[in-house]
Subunit: 175 residues, 2 copies
């Protein structure tokens, strides 16, 4: 089974390299050769793991959404009702700091019209929204639907603040 495990690692390294390269120079400018180089493999070998470049993007996106939902899930399972929103914001900021590339990739994917990409983004968004809304409801927070949308909206503004380097959009005292 050592073979299999090594192969899984290779694939994970490849996806992780793809996230970074796609985020740095953009999906369409990023070449499979650059991704391969970052992953330490040859360019043709990329296509042993993913049939097309778009398949690789889809997987990279899925991984980024998984990280986000898992982080939120952990907060929801642990946080008290009074600090829930605060801790969700903290978790998101944490992801933005530690996994900047994944957020930048998601931002790109917001405008890539390919049906499979759109679907991946839609389901990611829906899952986060549902999860947060239910948690807000259970925590007895007033108007959970509205609060969830505000939470998401602030997140989207944070993204832009990061990608365009406009820190004034994230002033803590105005949250």
């Amino acid at each position: 089974m050592a073979r299999k495990a090594a192969s899984v690692n290779r694939k994970e390294e490849l996806v992780s390299a793809a996230v970074d390269v796609f985020a740095e120079i953009g999906y369409y400018r990023a070449t499979t050769a650059k991704v391969a180089e970052r992953a330490g493999i040859s360019q043709p070998y990329v296509f042993r793991f993913f049939a097309t470049k778009e398949d690789l993007l889809t997987e990279a996106l899925s991984v980024s959404w998984q990280r986000m939902t898992e982080a939120f899930r952990a907060v929801i399972d642990r946080a008290g009702a009074d600090t829930l929103e605060e801790e969700l914001v903290e978790a998101y900021v944490g992801i933005m700091e530690k996994h900047r590339s994944e957020i930048l990739l998601q931002m790109q994917a917001q405008t890539i019209g390919e049906p499979r990409i759109v679907e991946t983004m839609r389901s990611g968004f829906r899952e986060v929204r549902t999860m947060v809304e239910e948690a807000f409801g259970r925590a007895g927070i007033a108007d959970p639907k509205r609060r969830t949308l505000l939470f998401l909206a602030r997140g989207m503004l944070c993204n832009i603040s990061m990608s365009l380097d406009l820190p004034e959009l994230m002033e803590e005292e105005n949250v």
Copy 2:
């Protein structure tokens, strides 16, 4: 002077075609040939108006920001203090409906790392923010800084709602 005026029109038509084509299939997938076809001119002729494809994108972005700031300026000059925010939201929704492509282009540009694109986006964002914040201040709205950021955040969520076709992110009753 008829020559000059016709030339200005051609250029405007070209930029407008670029906005649409870039928005539809993405800046990097959009070819100068497709933009030219949409504008009803030949592909090489594009380069008589703009030295590079990126120059064309920069101009297209500038135009889209101008439309937005002009629309907001008109509202601010006209609206009463009590309906200011409401009317600004209306104006934004109007742009999203009538000039969907321009919003989609701005969303793309949020993650295009090219320095001149970043700078165009930054100055557009700053101008809108400053304009709205000052108007909120003059209108005696409480906490104008915070309200402006909320206004922008909601706008960014609207964008995503449109581009990913997730109408539940824009439920009127939760605004």
